[in-house]
Amino acid sequence: MSAHLPRKSSVALRDPRWLRWSLLAIALAFVALFLVLPLLAVFGYAFEKGLDVWRAAVVDEEARAAIRLTLLVAAIAVPLNTVFGVAAAWLVTRYSFRGKGLLVSLIDLPFAVSPVIAGLIYVLLFGKQGWLGPWLADHDVKIIFAVPGIVLATTFVTFPFVARELIPLMQAQGGDEERAAITLGASGWSMFWRVTLPKIGWGLLYGVILCNARAIGEFGAVSVVSGHIRGLTNTMPLHIEVLYNEYQRTAAFAVASLLALFALLTLVLKQIVGWRMRRIAATEPDA
């Protein structure tokens, strides 16, 4: 890993002042208009009618149920995708086998699928009119319009995040440390816990953070399979939609502000982890 930092001292790389200022101005105006303004607006609208209204919206029983459900769904989908992501990254970066290209494309597939379609496929599969619907109904298994369906749709949508983060990382790191561990007599698990996990730790955390952010915020897919039962199958984003449609704009923005807060937290964590990863990469001996 050789990161060429631009030599700031080099006169040849210095842009003329007018160019620098205009590029900077355009970029910052863009950021202000498209990123900062909406972010501030969420909080602005949320506290428009004061702290009490905000508090009331957030502690409302249906809001609390939505928060619980959202956390539950993330708590199931994210670990599943983490295990899968690590396994997939290991498989793809450590072995060569027939069909590997196909596998990588399949991992990417959910990125290319509209969330609405992600919901639709589960309806086609598990809905009463779907392939497994009648069987599920006979055995009284509820998937669609219940928590399992929401978990499935979320899992589908957030499926590639951890794997996508780990594959390039592990590709760059190479497997020599693991091979060294094996020649030193380590077992597979011992190699994984003692060598691989510490090696990929921050990258893994990075992927998990992204995966989690998306899992909590998923709207389209969940909307199709949720059934919108208040207090039961409404996640936070769906609850926001409901409030929004009920003239409870301030309440909608109050719950949205929670999610925005969470997004900010994600950004901070992501920045810290990214910074750690870069530092580790910088101290690693040049390969």
């Binding site: 899968f84 599969l125 499926f159 389209g220």
Partner: protein, 279 residues
């Protein structure tokens, strides 16, 4: 004879292969197979009617048009932002850098209602724009704004690392050859970024085609004018028209798939060209 050559030196092939294959089958392949089978229940003529009805065609126009337009805006501003972030030092740079990922982190529904309210004609910003004759909310402009927001990080984040890794020697070389700064940026730096820019564009486009949460609030959802294809799918679902919904889903899937394949080919090509350069 033992298939000895299949052995792998590192442990875990069987385990990880098993985990990946079964997980892929359960979560991705079987549901998608359901989609394919369902669309296959339509005859060719019915399928064509579903995917090529005037309303469907209009929704593709809106979806693909707005996605492409948003992609184009980001195609210019994304790399510009990446350039400023990598090359310039200014107060708040780290903050801006972190903020670029906001659209990834912010749930789309939140983005949707916020942008809608911001640009609605009865709010200050929307009113001001409307007084200039530019209605944003509830028009394709609004959809484009939402898609610019959603796809912004793709362009920035795909260009940024390439720019960071770009060897400053080539720029200095251009300077020693007498090129002005603008010429250098235009003829030396930009060409080096093109593959990353295009890959970012394709990703952004693929994402924007399927985007739902941030768009439906601001779209106005007028058939033929501001109705996006994903909404048409839910609309068809609501009318019990599963096959029709599936048919449109197939069109969307294929399109974003083509975009993704284009990315992969592009990356393959870039890697090849780069390694050819160094050899």
């Amino acid at each position: 004879m033992r298939p000895r050559w299949r052995r792998q030196a590192l442990p875990g092939f069987g385990l990880t292969f098993g985990v990946c294959a079964s997980y892929l089958f359960l979560i991705v392949l079987i549901p998608l197979a359901a989609l394919a089978l369902k669309s296959a229940t339509l005859g060719p003529a019915e399928f064509w009617n579903a995917v090529a009805s005037p309303r469907a065609l209009a929704s593709y126009r809106v979806t693909f048009g707005c996605a492409a337009l948003a992609g184009l805006v980001n195609l210019v501003l994304g790399p510009l932002l990446a350039f400023v972030l990598v090359r310039y030092r200014f107060p708040g740079r780290k903050l801006v850098d972190a903020l670029v990922d906001l659209p990834f982190a912010l749930p789309t529904a939140v983005a949707g209602i916020t942008l809608t309210k911001l640009y609605a004609p009865n709010e200050p910003l929307g009113a001001w724009l409307a007084s200039l004759g530019w209605k944003v909310a509830y028009t394709p402009s609004g959809i484009t704004v939402a898609l610019i927001f959603v796809s912004l990080p793709f362009l920035v984040r795909s260009v940024q690392p390439v720019l960071e890794q770009l060897d400053p020697d080539i720029e200095e070389a251009a300077a020693t050859l007498g090129a002005g700064r603008l010429t250098t940026l235009w003829r030396v730096v930009l060409p080096a970024l093109w593959p990353a820019i295009l890959a970012g564009f394709a990703l952004a486009f693929a994402r924007a085609i399927g985007e739902y949460g941030s768009v439906i609030f601001i779209a106005g959802n007028m058939p033929m004018v501001s109705e996006i294809a994903p909404l048409l799918i839910t609309g068809k679902l609501d009318q019990h028209d599963y096959a029709g919904a599936t048919a449109i889903a197939v069109v969307l899937l294929v399109t974003s798939f083509v975009a993704l394949i284009a990315i992969n080919l592009l990356q393959l090509w870039t890697v090849r060209r780069r390694s050819a350069d160094t050899r």
